[in-house]
């Protein structure tokens, strides 16, 4: 029974249903998509695991903005959620006027009523929950990108920087930061297929510690002998290429991407930082070493002209330099470790870390 003076809206169901997904928009995302020039977001997902287990769970899907990454989880509901679209809809009804003469009933009236109608055009029983996630871009890329010490060992990662970006759960900003910090580079190689045809393929690597330190010494010695400056100008790169071709050893095959990455880091003032980290990775391969041994080994790896200043560094300063890639089992020793997969947010746990025992704690609290 309709209430007096009620305001009514007809509702109808559309047999042609449009598929939709509902996605939560937490404050950071909401502000972004409602800003004056909102960016395009990206949904990235790994292929599903055929038989997921606790040790090998179904991978997450990821939502990336230009600067942030979120994980996405589907939350199902026992309720049906409908999307309403509004349109004028004409409803045709048949009315039978009361009949005085049962032998001659009046013709039924066909009435057409048009009203702005709420039409149920989509149905869903789930929505996508968006959760904060702070991946460590360096750790992600170090895991995916092989270190270059030889063309085929380890197996090269075919593809370009851009195709790699589509495959990693990182935003553009995080990816660029990780690419730079992990010392990644692109280069091309010749690949012979089964038919014996040679094709050029782009591959991605990151700098290998031992090879990089050796190449750095070669570049510095040549630079000094030829009076060159550290530069990425084509003529300078060409001079370095000629030096490599004269060297002729397989281990120093001309890889322009590798050389340019080394030169760029020298020009940006990062030489002490990346060489100390590489020295630590090489020297502590079989276990922790003393800080004193690290310092001596690092200075040996550095070109002579780059040792100035580093020799006067304190042990504390050196340990600080390799922070993020090291752990100190004792006060005087240090060991290389891979950077953590998740970044720790100030004042809290790593974002993306699973809170164990949450549901048990919740039900225990309710029972009290």
């Amino acid at each position: 029974m309709t209430q007096p003076n009620a305001y009514t809206v007809p509702i109808a169901y559309s047999t042609i249903q449009t598929p939709i997904r509902l996605i939560e928009l937490p404050p950071a995302l909401l502000d972004l998509v409602t800003s004056p020039n909102p960016p395009t977001l990206h949904l990235k997902s790994l292929p599903p695991v055929p038989h997921p287990t606790t040790a090998n769970p179904q991978p997450h899907a990821y939502l990336t903005t230009p600067t942030q990454t979120f994980t996405i989880r589907q939350v199902s509901s026992s309720n049906n959620t409908f999307l309403l679209r509004h349109a004028d809809h004409t409803r045709v009804t048949t009315h039978y006027p009361p009949s005085i003469d049962p032998l001659n009933p009046p013709e039924p009236e066909i009435r057409e009523e048009t009203a702005l109608t709420s039409i149920l055009t989509s149905t869903t029983t789930s929505h996508l929950e968006v959760l904060p996630y702070s991946p460590n871009p360096v750790a992600t890329l170090r895991k995916m990108v092989p270190a270059y010490s030889d063309l085929y060992t380890p197996a090269p990662l075919y593809g370009s920087k851009e195709t790699l970006f589509l495959d990693v759960p990182l935003s553009r900003l995080q990816f660029e930061q990780g690419w730079k910090e992990a010392l990644c580079f692109e280069d091309t190689i010749q690949v012979v297929d089964e038919d014996g045809d040679s094709t050029t393929r782009t591959c991605i690597w990151r700098l290998d510690p031992l090879l990089t330190l050796r190449v750095l010494k070669m570049l510095e010695e040549f630079r000094l002998s030829e009076g060159l400056s550290w530069s990425l100008e084509p003529r300078v790169i060409e001079d370095f290429r000629e030096m490599f071709s004269e060297d002729g050893s397989a281990a120093t095959r001309w890889m322009p991407g590798m050389v340019e990455t080394i030169i760029r880091n020298v020009m940006e003032g990062n030489v002490h930082r990346f060489t100390a980290r590489m020295a630590l990775e090489i020297l502590s391969e079989h276990g922790a070493i003393s800080v004193d041994k690290l310092k001596k080994g690092w200075l040996d790896y550095l070109p002579e002209t780059m040792r100035a200043g580093a020799e006067a560094w304190t042990d504390e300063k050196l340990v600080e330099l390799v922070k993020g890639y090291s752990e100190s089992p004792t006060a005087r020793s240090v060991k290389f470790v891979e950077p953590p997969e998740l970044l720790v947010v100030e004042g809290g746990a790593a974002k993306g870390a699973v809170k164990k025992g949450k549901w048990h704690e919740k039900f225990a609290a309710q029972r009290k």
Binding site: M1, T2, Q3, N5, A6, Y7, T8, V9, P10, I11, A12, Y13, S14, T15, I16, T18, P19, I20, R21, L22, I23, E24, L25, P26, L30, V33, T34, P38, P39, T40, L41, H42, L43, K44, S45, L46, P47, S78, N79, N80, T81, F82, L83, L84, R85, H86, H89, R91, A115, L116, T117, S118, I119, L120, H127, L128, L166, D167, V168, P169
Partner: protein, 135 residues
Amino acid sequence: MPSVPIHPPNPPATKAPSPLPPILHTPTGLAILELQSTIHFAPGAMEEDGITPIGRLEFPESVMTGEWDGKSVWAYIGEHQRMRGEVKKLKTPLGILKRKTVGEPPSEGVEGEELEIAEIVKYKIIFSERPEPVS
């Protein structure tokens, strides 16, 4: 890892008409209704044009005077059932994701798939009580 672009909302120049109370109005006129029930149709009840009337939503007169509390809304389904519902503010606004209407070749993505946030809704109408019979 496939990467599918999600385009931000592109509100129309003029607001689409909506018969619902102003609090539920959105630029595209889309809204969300949640039912703790399932709608069943009798055989042969579906209309030929694909739009089958199922009933009406009823709001008190105070909707138009601005005094409505958001709690009183009824859904009349068919001739003999009604449910009490309410308008609830969502804890987290929801984006409605739809496949993007492709007019130009897509810039990227898996097999040309692109999505868009068609609308952002902050309120929903929810009916969580059992239907009651009406004469």
